[in-house]
Amino acid sequence: MKSFAPLKVTLHGMDERAAQMFTMFLAGPARGCCIVVPEGQQEAVIVDLDGVNAERLWLDVRRRFSGPALVLSVREKKLRHSIWVPKPIRADELIDAVERVRTELNTLASLHRGEALAENLVIAGPDGGQSDTRRMEAVGRAQVPPPPATLAVQRAAEDDGGGVARAAELALQERRVHECCGYLADEVYRDPRRRAELFFEPDDTLLGAMREGMHVAKASGTPAVVEGLGHPLILCPDQRRLFSDMREQYLRPLCTRSRHQTPMRVRAIPLEETPITTSADPRLQRLDATLWSVALWTARGRVPSGTSLDAPVSLRAWPNLTRLQIIPGAMQIAALWSKQPTGLMATAERLGLPYRYVFSFFTACQALDLLDQAASALSSAAPSPAQAVPQDRRSLFQRMLNKLGLG
């Protein structure tokens, strides 16, 4: 497993006893993701903001340190350049927050060195996305290449007022989209000669191995393990849990490899062989969330082979989008497929979304068994005409979405 040096932090807003307890928590359940260091050596600060003088404490901390902060509180805190970790603190949430800080620090360092501007912050060229396709071909789907940053990222990076942090945030968001939706340009989807690029063979991937594992577990009534990945992946579908000490940085690249490149074995295991753990153990993950992410990282803008591109797709139930990785357009696609069955190609065209978003969302929903697809484009009833939404109402909704601040 890839290992990282612990993030160097200082603790604020805690008395001596609380600080000692928290230090033990960092070393134990939080698996040493952070190490407490003397003031001046920290990369980030951890601030408990539930005390009586929270506002003064925050100002005091910010006066002395302007880098990333992890804010601990019962209620959500929206503070500049900080990440909220809700109380009661869960080890997995803290570890995720620390990883976000680490990613942000890395991106910032890269931007400061000017490397990002030189290599990544390239405005899309006049080739209309062909460079995306070449990049995809070049890597042979073995490894996800670094994403090209957009104009928005470049503008944010060039902006003076805190723009670097905003650029880092945007670059991180864009990288996540690319990891889930790939790079294929819309032209590829419309070109019948390049149709093969839109499909993948799920049985030849980690996604297929996980699905096989779930079948094995259900048939045997015991957990199943996927072996051959370096670290075991134990599936417990009855508890809707997955046990693994592989984190995203390790798991994601495995999704881009075929089972020929990384031979994987699946077998049922007796309950006695499963690790004894507690619900707070970060190695115990939600099966649905991991399966969903694995499906997105595998799909990268593609769908399983044999999928009809035109037969209407309908959503049996909405994915639990508050607890799953969200890609752009997910809400719109879910709403459309919930109201009116629509083919993959038609969905992208109707909603004005890149095809790769629709294809990745389809693959993820299918992994969680949330979809129905008609046998052919002609086998379902003609779509009902969409209800016209008054323009003033649509304008209101757009402003509400902007206000809610999520894409």
Partner: protein
């Protein structure tokens, strides 16, 4: 200046007041009183008339957030509150004895309003009690003749509540675009 509203409903303690507080741009107006009946078993105070919050939008438009009282004896308020609403946010508490009974009750109570608008459901406290899971909620909702977004939420988290309201808006109009 146009005025719109979203209605939050659900049983006592499901997180309606918290959800409105999370989304509101103003300190919420709440009519909580000390509970004097069985409600006290779930929370010391309960909403007796309504909660009120406000989202301020560009262009001076306002979206009013109304929370219904959780207790059934105040249901005469519900019809008044829903008039002209954009949609219904139903908050359910997974630690209650029978959350499906709650779902049936509130959907039947607001059926006319839901049929004219849209419904989304947020299920709270699933971290405390993961059963029943959302697949059972979806199945129960289907048995009532509806399909709607059902999300696991923490009413204190802005992201969770924002996603739930987003789902409501997209359910009304999947064609809207977010420029933000």
């Amino acid at each position: 200046m146009a005025q719109y509203k979203i209605i939050f409903t659900g049983p006592v303690g499901a997180g309606k007041t918290t959800a409105i507080r999370t989304l509101s741009d103003i300190p919420i107006v709440s009519t909580d009183e000390d509970a004097s009946d069985m409600t006290a078993n779930r929370k010391p105070q309960t909403t007796v008339a309504m909660d009120y919050g406000l989202m301020k939008l560009d262009g001076n438009d306002r979206v009013h957030l109304y929370g219904t009282p959780g207790q059934e004896r105040f249901d005469f308020m519900w019809e008044i509150l829903t008039e002209g609403g954009l949609g219904l946010v139903l908050m359910l508490d997974n630690t209650r004895i029978n959350p499906f009974q709650d779902m049936s009750f509130y959907i039947n109570a607001f059926r006319e309003f839901i049929d004219q608008t849209q419904l989304v459901i947020g299920v709270t406290r699933m971290d405390e009690r993961p059963e029943p899971d959302l697949s059972r909620y979806n199945a129960h909702l289907a048995s009532l003749g509806y399909k709607a977004p059902i999300f696991e939420v923490d009413a204190r988290k802005k992201r969770d509540m924002a996603l739930l309201v987003q789902a409501l808006l997209y359910s009304i109009d999947p064609g809207i675009r977010n420029d933000g």
